[in-house]
């Protein structure tokens, strides 16, 4: 059995051409990440540059509406406007310590690409971002942001020209250039060591939230909710609570309906399969071909999910559900109006779950929602949706 398993899930299903690269990354991670020097440097960038720690905000209005005590973990206030930077700063710093000269990344909506461009700019490493041609068109502002920070955006034409194809292309480029290039993967997916490494960089979210809620309330929350695409913000939030008596809920993209191709709910509707180096729940047809996904939130538009989530689903430790686009848009408007906080459409999935399930919560129940990103990027599309 190979390394990097979460129960049966995970592994290193990559062509032999990539084995040297994943092995070197694994060795680099094991030798560099635990050192005092690396941890202090990362902690400096997270605190002084990115603005950690992020607040855990008690929402008076939402709490009054819902009839329970609702907190938001404010990753939307992190520099760049989303949790992605926790991971890219970590991986880019590791790349620098490993002597890499260039960063490669994939991006779907552009958030991870932007976060990689930021990390590359501040750490003086050139960045190349692979982005599906379709995504380049629907997220042109993020293309401009990346280019503004000096990154090169390479449109990917193959396949469905979306996130999964951008990952394919980035992996190909990495296979050809791993000697001097680091592949900065944006979620807890891919071959070992990515699911573990990205989780470890994102665990800062849950570690802070756990301490903050104890300070605010003197006890742990009853429920923690996070959206799940690849699942990095969710695993980062959940991990420090796994051993606690806390209900954990992951919310997937229900899209336009339950039919194949209309959603991104791989845990709810997929079956185990292998994509991008890992065995995990996967949206696929009977023949094992990966099928297209759809979500109003481009960041959840991915046919698979981190292998650790697959394990947590099967063990029952985390409860996974999906919410459809219309509930998500409703939640997007609701949080904007009631708290003056515009959530990313991805994060609005977690809010939508709360709205739907509000009757389940008692007056003294404490609920934490991971507000993984801000919604400025979605306002144009949101307006368009309202007109339709």
């Amino acid at each position: 059995m190979s390394k990097g398993r979460f129960g049966d899930f995970g592994g290193q299903f990559v062509p032999e051409t990539l084995m040297a690269a994943v092995t070197a990354l694994e060795e680099g991670r094991n030798s560099v990440c635990p050192t005092k020097e690396f941890r202090e440097e990362l902690s400096f960038y997270l605190k002084e540059y990115a603005g950690r720690e992020t607040p855990l905000t008690f929402c008076r209005n939402v709490s009054a509406d819902m009839g329970c005590r609702v907190y938001l973990k404010r990753e939307d206030l992190l520099h760049s406007g989303a949790h992605k930077l926790n991971n890219t700063l970590g991986q880019a710093l590791l790349a620098k310590h490993m002597g890499k000269k260039r960063l490669i990344a994939e991006t779907g909506a552009g958030q991870h690409g932007v976060a990689t461009a930021i990390a590359g700019a501040v750490l003086n490493l050139p960045v190349e971002v692979y982005m599906g041609e379709t995504d380049c068109q629907r997220q042109s502002l993020n293309v401009f942001r990346m280019e503004l920070m000096g990154a090169t955006v390479i449109p990917v034409k193959g396949g469905t020209a979306t996130l999964k194809d951008a990952v394919n292309e980035a992996m190909r480029e990495w296979a050809a250039s791993s000697e001097d290039s680091a592949y900065i993967l944006g979620s807890v997916v891919g071959p070992h060591p990515y699911p573990e490494m990205v989780r470890d960089f994102q665990t800062v979210i849950g570690t802070e939230a756990r301490r903050q809620i104890l300070e605010h309330e003197g006890r742990l929350p009853d429920t923690v909710i996070a959206c799940v695409g690849g699942g990095s913000n969710a695993i980062g939030m959940f991990h420090p609570f796994l051993k606690d008596d806390v209900k954990l809920v992951g919310v997937e993209a229900g899209g336009r309906g339950k039919a194949p191709g209309e959603h991104g709910a791989s845990l709810e509707s997929g079956r185990p399969g292998i994509l991008h180096g890992a065995l995990s729940y996967l949206l696929q047809d009977d023949d094992g071909q990966v099928i297209e996904t759809y979500s109003v939130a481009a960041g959840l538009d991915y046919p698979s999910v981190g292998p650790e989530h697959s394990m947590l689903k099967d063990t029952g430790r985390v409860h996974y559900e999906s919410v459809p686009d219309d509930e998500v848009l409703n939640a997007f408007r609701y949080l904007s109006r009631r708290e003056g906080i515009v959530p990313a459409l991805e994060s609005a999935h977690a809010v939508a779950y709360l709205l739907r399930e509000q009757d389940r919560f008692e007056k003294d129940d404490i609920v934490i929602i991971n507000l993984s990103g801000r919604g400025d990027k979605d306002i144009t599309r949101e307006v368009v949706h309202e007109q339709i």
Partner: protein, 272 residues
Amino acid sequence: MNRFETVFERPAFIAFTVAGDPDLTTSLAVAQTIIHSGADILELGIPFSDPVGDGPVIQRADERALSAGATTDSAFALVREIRKTSEVPVVLLVYCNTVYSRGPARFYKDAKAAGVDGILIVDMPVEEGHLVMQYATESGIAPIFTVTPTTPPERVKKITDLAGGFLYLVSLSGVTGRRETLSEAAVPLIQRVRKETSLPLALGFGIATETHARQAVEAGADGVIVGSAIVEIVERHVGDLAGMERELSDYIARMKAAVVGSVPVDEDQNYV
């Protein structure tokens, strides 16, 4: 017992095509042309939606085949058709999810029944070999593995311990696709792997011309694998079967001649 044994008595020419590219009927004609023109081993790729180990040419072929309705079943049907008229060894190139989705036991059983001789799973390194090795052994289908210029010596050992049929040496870092020259890494790769195994060594990735093929054989390769250059011919002639067969048979014959060391009589003819 296995069809590979006699093939490598002299340098072998191994030709790749995607099963179902550009459609099921044409694909059978392509395979038969390749075989009739002298290929010693036929490699058939089962198309996959996300071929991370392949370059753009083979990815487009996968997309054409899938849009034309290619499936795992139709790939096995293609092998059965080929077996009606030919005993040429057939190797399947597949992505792991294709095998996993069908269930490895069933995949190997069906492959054996169709007449498959070897299976190479592109994204299954030896560490994950436990998934299929039992079925490869039971079915007698050779488990083909790749070795690359970046594979360190201790991994070469691990790979040769499991591998059967022949070893697929990847001549360069990166993905499949035509290159201008044979990779500089190819010669040292052949030399160092040769010391570790008695398995035949077939060199692939980036090989497109007769010069590449000759250089590979001179460097000690027992076989030469060509993929993207063949797929390009198919792509160029979609809708023109006669032209496709003409150019394919000409190209395969030339490459075969270059591999076995004889010079084809019409070498000066422009075939592109």
